[in-house]
Symmetry: C2
Subunit: 159 residues, 2 copies
């Protein structure tokens, strides 16, 4: 499984915005991304997990740092129709991704990635995956340390 | 933006497992995927959002339906070291993805996707994105309706 990982990438220009406790019913997600699309806000990651017993859930997305204020203003304008409890945003996060083409399972790649970050005391704030990638958001101050640890964990630093 | 979407894909063999309220500190995610990788469980999606004020968060992943029981047994064995409050699983979900190569922003593609699902009363349970895709988990019974609605929303049904 290890041989599968071909590289580690990152993006510094990420700020995350979280809508806390949105109602878990059809139309809410459309009511969030409709106004953002109309305001031509460039959204990168979108992450939502299943709802709680109270039938609400948090929805997080990332934008370039220059667009945070504008995105927050759009959401505040539509606060009533969306129905979130609170908006939270954080500028100092970075996205780090491990790329593995042909991964049969994410578990092995994730174990190595999460283990390497844990050894250095780097907390994982958000996780998403695609067929060929595992991506996390971490605090920006850990970026260089994370990249070095991941390169060595996957043996990518051997020439 | 619309011209960007090239296709809609889906996967029926998905069951989701959620660890409720895991502690948000380094090492927890590694402590979940280590045992799963060692048990050779094939993990597909992994989704985690930022933590709550109580410094806990839910972590969801998907496996093939045939592996749910085995994955739950692995997690129950490590319940103490991971520290989740509760395990939840659901068999009848499917993953539906919209593919858009060269998407500058996910907002437009997401608006159309989420809007098309909302119109048909289809609730979105989980959302993740990658550079070229927006993926959601929905209830299996809505699969055919979702695929038809998305094909027509993106004009993919025109020959
Ligand atoms: C929370 C949000 O995703 C909601 N479930 C919807 O379908 O829009
Ligand atoms: C919740 C889990 O992701 C934790 N933050 C970790 O770093 O392992």
């Amino acid at each position: 499984e290890q041989a599968v990982v071909s590289g580690v990438t990152y993006s510094r220009d990420e700020a995350k915005i979280t809508l806390r406790s949105v109602p878990d019913r059809p139309g809410i997600a459309a009511g969030i991304f409709g106004p953002l699309a109309e305001a031509a806000i460039n959204v990168d990651m979108i992450v939502q997990n299943i709802s709680s017993k109270e039938k609400t859930t948090d929805l997080t997305f990332t934008v370039g740092r220059a667009e945070v204020e504008r995105a927050l203003a759009v959401l505040e304008k539509h606060a009533e129709s969306i129905g979130y409890e609170e908006l939270a945003s954080e500028h100092n996060v970075v996205k780090v991704s491990v790329i593995g083409v042909g991964m049969r399972s994410h578990a092995g790649v994730a174990q190595t990635m999460f283990g390497a970050l844990a050894e250095k005391g780097i907390n994982i704030e958000v996780i998403t995956t695609s067929e060929i990638k595992v991506s996390v958001l971490i605090a920006e101050e850990y970026l260089e340390l994370a990249l070095r640890s991941l390169h060595s964990a996957y043996g990518l630093d051997k020439v």
